[in-house]
Symmetry: C2
Subunit: 213 residues, 2 copies
C-alpha cells in the first residue's frame, strides 16, 4: 500500500496511526500541502477531491477520507480491531471520532485558515482566537462525552480505537496553537496512554520522512 | 426510539432519512436550535456534547453524531442496507458521506455562521460568500469523486446509501443560500433520484412537526 499524505496533516496522521497499530507496511508518499502539491493536476488521479490522505491499495485503488480509510483497514485487516464488536459500542467509538473529525478539525485546517486571512482579512490574533475557540469548545464536548463512558485506558476501553486515531492528531494540532488542555482529564489521559505506544510515536509528524520541524 | 432533532438541522435530516428508508417508527422530539434549546442544562442528559441529532434507543441509550447513528441503525436493522457488503465499496460510500460531513457541512452550520458575525464582525455579504464558497467547492469535489464511479441512480449504485443520506440535506442547505448547482450532473441526478422517493420526502424539513416555513 501507499499513503499519499503530509506530515503535519491531522487526517493523514490518523491513518498513519491505524497502519502502525495494525503493523501494516506502507510506502510514504509525501504531498506538500503548504506548497500546494495537492492542487496540481496530476494529483487528481490519486484524489479527485484533491485532498490528503489518499490510500493506494495493492490493487491500485485510491481511497480518500481518513475515517473511511481506517474502517477499510479494519475490515480488511481485522487484528488488532480498531472498533469494538457490539453495535452500541461501535456507535460510541464512531461518535467520538466524528466529534473531532466533523466538529473540530474542519474548522482549523489549512484552507479554512487561509480563507480567514485572505478573503475575510482576519488578523493573526483573531485567526488564533478562532483556532483556539473551536479546538477548546470541541475538546470540552469530547471530555463530557468521555465522562459518561466507563473508565478505560484509552478513549473507549483498554485498547486504542478509531477514536484515539482521531484524538491524538487533534491534540498535536492544539499544541501548535497553544490551546489550553486544562480540565480535560479523561481526554488527556487517553492521549498520554496513546503516546506511550510505539505505534503512535512512529506515526507522529516528527517521525515522518517529510518532517520539517 | 426517539430522535432529538431540529427540522432544519442538516445532520438531523440525515438520520431522519435513514429511519424512513428502514421504515423504523420513532418519536420526533424537537430541539429548537435557533432558540438555543440544545444549550440548556437539561439537554446534557440527552447529549453531553449539546448537539443534535441524538437518538434515544428503546433501551434508553443516547447516541450522537449522525453518521455514527446511521451506521448503528444499519447494523441493528440491516434491511434495506445503507452500506454495500464489500469493504472497498463501503469505503467509497463512507468517503462520499464524509466529503460532505467533514469538508462542507461543518463550515456552514449555525454556530460557525454566528461566530463569523459576532466575533469576526463579518457582514452579511461576506457571510453568504463564505457559505457559498465551501458548499460549491465541496460539491465540485464530490462531483469529481462521483465521476470516477460506475454510473448508478444514486450516489453509489442503484439503491440509496449513507452517501445519499448526507448529500440530500446538503443540497437543501445550499438552496437556502442560492448556491449554484450548475455543472454537477451526477450529484444532482442522485439528489433528484432521492427526492422521488417517499422516504426522503417524509424526512425533509417541510414534513417535520417543528417546521416553521
Amino acid at each position: 500500500m501507499k499513503l499519499y499524505n503530509y506530515f503535519r496533516s491531522s487526517a493523514s496522521f490518523r491513518v498513519r496511526i491505524a497502519l502502525e497499530l495494525k503493523g501494516l507496511p506502507y510506502e510514504y508518499v509525501p504531498v506538500h500541502l503548504v506548497k500546494g502539491e495537492h492542487q496540481q493536476a496530476g494529483y487528481a488521479a490519486v484524489s479527485p477531491a484533491m485532498l490528503v490522505p489518499s490510500l493506494e491499495t495493492d490493487a491500485g485503488e485510491h481511497l480518500g477520507q481518513s475515517m473511511a480509510i481506517i474502517e477499510y483497514l479494519d475490515e480488511t485487516h481485522p487484528e488488532p480491531a480498531l472498533l469494538p464488536p457490539d453495535p452500541l459500542a461501535r456507535a460510541r467509538v464512531r461518535a467520538l471520532a466524528q466529534l473531532i473529525a466533523c466538529e473540530i478539525h474542519p474548522l482549523n485546517n489549512l484552507r479554512v485558515l487561509k480563507y480567514l486571512v485572505r478573503a475575510l482579512k482576519v488578523d493573526e490574533a483573531a485567526k488564533t482566537a478562532w483556532y483556539r475557540h473551536w479546538v477548546r469548545e470541541g475538546l470540552e464536548a469530547f471530555e463530557r462525552e468521555l465522562a459518561q463512558l466507563p473508565a478505560g485506558r484509552f478513549c473507549f476501553g483498554d485498547t486504542p480505537t478509531l477514536a484515539d486515531c482521531c484524538l491524538v492528531p487533534q491534540i498535536f494540532n492544539g499544541r501548535r496553537f497553544d490551546v489550553s488542555f486544562d480540565g480535560l482529564p479523561r481526554t488527556m489521559a487517553a492521549f498520554d496512554a496513546c503516546m506511550a505506544l510505539p505505534a503512535f510515536q512512529r506515526a507522529q509528524p516528527s517521525s515522518c520522512p517529510d518532517n520539517e520541524a
